[in-house]
């Protein structure tokens, strides 16, 4: 399979503390990959290095064979990296539909000023239709005209997913999507995500605490501990791996 995301030998230190030490992570096209590890393992640091929020001290990140180097966050996004946030980040004072329209509008860059001034910067009916389709996919059609502030956390997270989907990502990075959600909500989110992923066939990198979600959703899993990659392989196998259990899962019963 074609390698989509290739993060090679990433090293990152914060004032002497090695947050990531020589970590290599690959995601193939259309693949669902999990990234787990105990608190402070460096998951978020790795995530930020991939997305461009942090510069790694050493190592390289490439997407579909293009080295991302020191490319800023927004250019990476335009190259096909979508993401959601652990603490949801939404644009206030908009409706759900407007949210997706913003993403749809900027899909091909910020938009030219002269087009705005000539009145050609308004969303076209085609764009509105596309956003409607994404809303349908997420099951948010009923909420389209609701103000964003009135949504529940779970719905907000779906809007985030939708916002990322509208940009047509090839890789969706999910940052602890289950945080703040209860079991039922998490399961609902997982099944919606799985459905959309089957339809759109983008790759997913899931950073997650919730082992059940990882087990249910991903095919392959990387396990980080203290900045080191201690194991990677098919998710089921990882859950049974002694090192992983030792480092992270303890004697938790997983997999049912």
């Amino acid at each position: 399979m074609n390698v989509l995301l290739d993060a090679t030998e990433i090293t990152k230190s914060f004032s002497g503390i090695r947050a990531l030490d020589d970590v290599t992570l690959r995601v193939a096209e259309g693949e669902r990959v999990g990234l787990i590890g105990p608190n402070g393992a460096g998951k978020t640091t790795l995530f930020n290095c991939i997305l461009g929020n942090l510069r790694p001290d050493a190592g390289s990140v490439s997407l579909n064979g293009v080295d991302l180097g020191s490319m800023p966050v927004y250019r990476r996004a335009r190259m096909g990296m979508g993401r959601t946030f652990q603490r949801i980040e939404l644009f206030g004072d908009t409706t759900v539909a407007e949210h997706l329209l913003i993403a749809e509008r900027v899909r091909r860059g910020n938009g030219a000023l002269w087009k705005d001034l000539l009145g050609r910067g308004r969303p076209t009916s085609d764009e509105i239709r596309r956003c409607g389709e994404v809303l349908d996919l997420l099951g948010l059609t009923d909420l389209a005209e609701e103000p964003i502030e009135s949504l529940s956390l779970g719905q907000g997270r779906l809007v985030e997913v939708g916002r990322a989907l509208v940009t047509g990502p090839r890789l969706l990075l999910l940052d602890e999507p289950s945080s703040g959600l209860d079991r039922t909500e998490t399961d609902a989110l997982a099944s919606t995500l799985a459905e959309i992923q089957r339809e759109k066939e983008f790759a997913v990198l899931l950073v997650e605490h919730d082992v059940e979600l990882v087990a249910a959703f991903t095919e392959r899993t990387y396990v980080l501990d203290f900045g080191h990659l201690i194991a990677d392989g098919p998710t089921g196998q990882m859950m049974a791996d002694a090192r992983v259990r030792n480092a992270y899962l303890g004697d938790l019963e997983v997999g049912r």
Binding site: E89, F91, I102, R105, R122, E149
Partner: protein, 688 residues
């Protein structure tokens, strides 16, 4: 050898010269850090507070003939802390949850309001040429010269001595008293302090009183350096203090102290050595001559842009989203259709009647005022774009407008270009200036961005305007910066009525473009950035590009408006129209009324231009009541500054602005009444 000796001597002289003002800067910087850390307020109003104390002292000493000690007690030890306490108790305590930028706007409003309020209450007015006296007799006439190189006046010695005593007292307070301990704790973390059972509000009130006392003391001490007591001079003082405080990252008191002292000495050294250096580089001379008085702003700008510590402190700040819960949508979106229609019809009819009345009946003065209101409204649309849409506070809109105005003046004067074409060129130039300025300052964000633009505005004022290729140089002092009125085909816009029509057309066109911007991609992108910069970036929005665009568009609008204003007045009138302090008032006005709507800009223009004549002089009552005017009118036009300055307090609680606030309330009331009537009818119909 000779050269080295003289350089060393000069250096020492500069140090001696710079230390006294430096210690005053340090005093203010200390107060500045103290309030910032205890209440999160970036108190620009310290300049105004220093002015009030200095003026009170002057009034008591010179007008009332008081002795030094009672005058000092009144001005510094009673009035100054009192003002601080009142501000804390009545205003800033309620803002503790507002965003830093909202607090900044209130402080700017106070900067505008306090001096005018003081002058109104006490009847004080600055008399040109009456130099304020210091706190010891013979302060400016007795000199000591211990090293034989620089005679230090008694006033300067007093400045240093008082500053030292003040700092020592503060140090002792911090070290040895339990209150000092509480203060230090609140400075570190107000929340933690509250958890350990200390009333942070009380401590913060004390900090306000103390820092205001420092500001008042600094004002009285520095006053003898000025020939005439004027509020803007004291505003400069606070600029240096901000630079000093910024060096210590606004966090450390010793840092602020050393920063203040260091800046005083640095400025003196700079002023000693720069002229010599430029003597060898002739082309730099005009620059140097103007740079000397504006050193504070250059330093502040330099510190902000180059000091890495500040950049690291960057946060995403949204002046309109800082309150909790987030601001609801515009009132128009909650109205029902019938009401919207009724309001539209009524306002169009009203505008037509007003317009027709003005065009047919108004005399020269009213035509002038109304035209000015319309043109100012265009300039205020630039604030709508940068503050209302992009959520950035820019305090240099006056400079952008001046760029437009001076461009028209220069092009018409030198190349005889049509003024309307020149206005468009001016808008373009202003856009370029805005874009260039935004590149270094955008990285700062929030409060620091506002302060950096303020520094730029003062720099422009002190240095750029003096160049003959911008402000017309020396000749303009005599001839003024004259600008002709345009003629298009058969229309000669020297006719005031015709020019009013032109202004209205221009306003309509600019408003239309601004609405297009808001509804288009740029508006959506800016909205997204204001909501969450991280999320905006994650969908491919380039924050820098979007904000540079916003700055450029805003500057272009301001430049165009400024050009029109110059054409209208047939003169640039820089000092009256575009000075940095006037532009501060613009911002306060627009955000207090409504920064997000076209209407807000229109109301602000009307308020700036017409409020004085209509309300303060009572004309509107004269029309309505056929000659009768309430007994208290007419009152001083200074009330305009006081009222709108204080209106900014309302802004901090209702960031949508007065206009939107009023509309929202009216709409809600109407909806409630309307709904309840509908419901009653429904009940009556269903009941048998």
């Amino acid at each position: 050898m000779f050269l080295a000796a003289s350089t060393g001597e000069d250096l020492l002289r500069a140090v001696l010269q710079g230390a006294p003002p430096g210690s005053v800067y340090a005093l203010i910087a200390l107060g500045f850090v103290l309030t910032y850390k205890t209440s999160g307020v970036f108190n620009l109003a310290f300049g105004a507070q220093a002015y009030v104390s200095a003026a009170m002292y002057f009034q008591a000493r010179t007008e009332w003939g008081w002795q030094v000690v009672p005058a000092l007690i009144l001005a510094v030890f009673i009035l100054a802390p009192l003002i601080g306490l009142v501000l804390e108790r009545l205003i800033f305590r309620y803002l503790s949850n507002s965003s830093a930028v909202a607090k900044l706007v209130v402080a700017i409003g106070l900067t505008v309001a306090l001096p005018s309020l003081f002058e109104l209450v006490t009847g004080f007015s600055a008399v040109a040429g009456r130099t304020p006296t210091g706190i010891i007799p013979g302060g400016s006439s007795v000199f000591y010269d211990p090293f034989g190189i620089y005679p230090i006046s008694r006033d300067e010695l007093a400045q240093m001595a008082v500053a030292m005593v003040g700092m020592a007292a503060l140090g002792a307070l911090f070290r040895f008293s339990s209150l000092g301990l509480a203060l230090r704790a609140v400075v570190e973390s107000p929340r933690m302090t509250e958890l350990s059972g200390i009333n942070a509000d009380r401590v913060s009130a004390f900090a306000w009183a103390l820092s205001s006392l420092f500001a008042g003391m600094a004002g009285v001490l520095i006053a003898p350096r000025f020939n005439t007591l004027m509020a803007p001079d004291f505003f400069h003082l606070v600029i240096v203090a901000i630079a000093a405080a910024a060096i210590g990252r606004l966090a450390s008191l010793p840092g602020a102290l050393l920063g203040g002292l260091g800046l005083g000495i640095f400025i003196a050294i700079f002023n000693t050595f720069l002229p010599r250096w430029t003597a060898d580089h002739g082309w730099l001379r005009p620059f140097q001559e103007n740079l000397t008085p504006s050193m504070p702003f250059v330093i502040l700008f330099g510190v902000l842009v180059c000091w890495p510590a500040i950049r690291r402190e960057r946060r995403v700040v949204d002046p309109l989203g800082g309150v909790d819960p987030p601001p609801p949508g515009l009132a128009a979106s909650t109205r029902n259709r019938r009401l919207t229609l009724a309001i539209r019809v009524f306002s169009v009819a009203f505008l037509c009647v007003v317009g027709a009345t003005i065009l047919l009946r108004a005399d020269v003065r009213w035509l002038f005022l109304v035209t000015q209101a319309v043109i100012l409204a265009i300039i205020y649309l630039s604030i709508t774009v940068i503050t209302g849409f992009a959520g950035q506070i820019s305090l240099c809109q006056g400079a952008f407008a001046a760029v437009g105005a001076f461009t028209v003046f220069q092009l018409a004067d030198r190349y005889d270009l049509s003024v309307l074409a020149a206005a468009l060129v001016g808008a373009g130039l202003a856009a370029v200036v805005g874009a260039l300025l935004s590149l270094p300052v955008l990285r700062l964000g929030g409060v620091w961005l506002a302060i950096a633009t303020l520094a730029f505005a003062f720099f422009f004022d002190a240095v750029m305007v003096k160049f003959s290729w911008i402000g017309g140089g020396g000749t303009s002092l005599f001839q003024g910066t004259r600008v002709p009125r345009p003629t298009i085909g058969p229309w000669d816009f020297a006719d005031d009525r015709l020019f009013l029509v032109l202004a209205v057309v221009a306003f309509t066109v600019v408003s239309f473009l601004v609405i297009q911007l808001r509804e288009g991609t740029t508006g959506r992108v800016l909205h997204a950035l204001r909501g969450s910069e991280m999320a905006a970036e994650s969908i491919g929005i380039s924050p820098v590009r979007a904000r540079v665009t916003a700055f450029a568009v805003s500057a272009a609008i301001a430049g165009f408006g400024g050009a029109l204003l110059a054409i209208h007045q047939e003169n640039v009138n820089y000092q009256n129209n575009f000075s940095p302090t006037a532009a501060l008032f613009w911002l306060v006005l627009v955000v207090s009324l409504s920064a997000r709507t076209i209407e807000g800009a229109a109301y602000s223009g009307a308020a700036f231009s017409l409020f004085d004549s209509l309300v303060l002089r009572g004309e509107v009552f004269r029309w309505i009541f056929r000659g009768w005017v309430p007994g208290i009118l007419p009152i001083s036009p200074k009330w305009r500054f006081v009222l709108f300055g204080l209106a900014s307090i309302h802004f901090s609680r209702h960031p949508e602005g007065l206009v939107e606030y009023g509309k929202r309330r009216a709409t809600r009331r109407f909806n409630e009444r309307f709904d309840s009537r509908e419901r009653e009818r429904a009940i009556q119909e269903t009941s048998p």
